[in-house]
Amino acid sequence: MVEFEKTGDVLVAALKGEIDLHVAAPLREALDRAIEGLAFRHLVIDFRGVTFIDSTGLGVLLGRYRRVAGAGGTVAVTGLSSAVRRVVELSGLLRVTKEFGSRAEAVAVLEGGGAGA
């Protein structure tokens, strides 16, 4: 469902599989645990492993976006397939996050402290 990787003060959350009601609560808990337990400032959500996501899954991500952004961090997204992109766009998440072509690029830019690139 999600795997974490930390580089400096950037946390990458790599989502996997179908993100719907069934994984919403465990995903929320896993993300919140990572947010509380790991010292990081910026979050990269990597959608490359996502095969399906609906508004319930996106609701969990928007909630975590608010937590990280509320604490002054930047949230970026990467790995959007055309199917996933459409739904992510409809949710409004793309309006408040930066999209990068790859996880490595996202991490490099955010670690460099730049929200602008």
């Binding site: 719907d20 069934h22 399906f52 609906d54 508004s55 319930t56 609701g59 909630g63 739904v87 409809l90």
Partner: protein, 140 residues
Amino acid sequence: MLNRFRLEFLSRSENVRLARVTVAAFAAQLDPTLEEIDELKGAVSEAVTNAIIHGYGNSPDGVVVVEGILFGDAIEVCVEDAGKGIQDVARATEPEHSGDPERLGLGFSFMKTFMDEVKVESAPGQGTRVIMRKQLATRH
């Protein structure tokens, strides 16, 4: 009517995927595009999730019924629950009307984006029936 199916399952979150996959497999008979399949799965996911969360208040003991009908090159999908029903359907189907700040309240918006028509029949205590229709650009 070319074909019809009816699927009944308990209001458990693991069954949302079952509904998506069943409707997708059924619609495949009309040879839709991948994008159309994704849209159908998306709409079904929203409707079934609503039945579980709102209709049955997350109780795992309710029954959700999903029906699909193929008409020529269109599919009609109906998602029904015998749960608590909707007081004000017009208001409930507007975006951001959601009791939960973490659910986006976009379920109905997504359904209306993915499907050509969405009708909701509901009343308090009388359950809810969501009927959605989509014309498919079949390649026959």
